[in-house]
Symmetry: C2
Subunit: 207 residues, 2 copies
Amino acid sequence: MAQLSSVAGIPIGTIKFYLREGLLPAGERTSPNQADYDERHLRRLRLIRGLIEVGRLSIVEARRVVDAIDSDIGLAETFEVAQHTVSEQVDAVDLDRGALDLVDAAMTGWRVSEDNPGRLAAARVIGTFLAIGQPDERGWLARYAEAALLAADADLDEIESRPDREAQAETVIVGTVLGDALFAALRRAAQEHATSLRYGTESDGAG
Amino acid sequence: MAQLSSVAGIPIGTIKFYLREGLLPAGERTSPNQADYDERHLRRLRLIRGLIEVGRLSIVEARRVVDAIDSDIGLAETFEVAQHTVSEQVDAVDLDRGALDLVDAAMTGWRVSEDNPGRLAAARVIGTFLAIGQPDERGWLARYAEAALLAADADLDEIESRPDREAQAETVIVGTVLGDALFAALRRAAQEHATSLRYGTESDGAG
DNA sequence: CACTATCGGAAAGTATTGGTTTCCATATGA
DNA sequence: TCATATGGAAACCAATACTTTCCGATAGTG
């Protein structure tokens, strides 16, 4: 365990904590007070840290998604767990109807169920936008929807590329959780680039 | 204040707390123990709740960005505050160099400074991805970068559409903070749609 | 075989965060 | 007049993510 801790760069106390919380499976006991941890434990540990630190999941949320990887549910169910875990649940009743209509309009032609957590969460965001008095005159929402479609398609290709069910499930989880963070990060870079293109001098920046 | 509380649907105690934390400017005092709050306070209150609840900012982060709206710094500086507030700061030294190279490759031709917080954060995400053993064979990263470019361009158009500096600054902040949440939400919906298109039956879902 | 160091595990402690409650001396309004 | 409401300070609180302390047992070292 000390070895696992030093290889992963995570304090022993924290590993014990994850073990206790059921995030990390116990090592193989070689004696009443000795256990062996292998490559899988290391991978899992890195996954957990990624979900928690980079993906900003709470302990409970992280447990839910790693459980989904381990259980042998299908891909669709794994997606559902992932989506419900990362989306804050929005109560449809206290949702601005105008916002919901705008979101639905931006998703025209999409096959999306009424209680898709993303649809509801998007309406919540647009509702906030409207409440502050930002009207969305230039089709901001619609263009974001188009970008989302691109990303979702990339996600599915990435999942399809993995060899077996467990690897695919892991990609569903990791892609859903870390994809948010990745896109957010790339958007910041793209903002700088776009700003520089529009307003900057020719000599600004470098590829 | 009771009125402000009931209109905004936020407990008085919470409003007092925001006042104390410097998130909300004090009302105009009409007597030693009476103050008037106007439309601006209501708007600001809604903005704060949006940043905190929907955008998941902490109190300190929210204060920093509303301060940026109120101060009369330029648009570029506002962007900087927004970006630095929403991106977790990544130490460039403990960053996987291979990951950084992949990110730079995906951003070929972009005018982005070396210490752009998005560039570093993206490298962190990709580093996590690699550490878990997910190789990105299908250009996932590059396709996300393309989507991010679309979003960033929509962001700039939205900002340009606003009438004055303060409104633009507000859109910079709101767009940066809530844009992350919006895209994440739309991606979930798009995932369901794309999944249904690829694997679903013809009768699945409805536009 | 002695004996120190380390093991895994339980339980209690801690720092931070985002409020909430309580208290207070005014001041308003029926 | 006198219960009620006000703004403001300070103490309190629940949740979260660890961290520390303690434990009895066992592994490794000489």
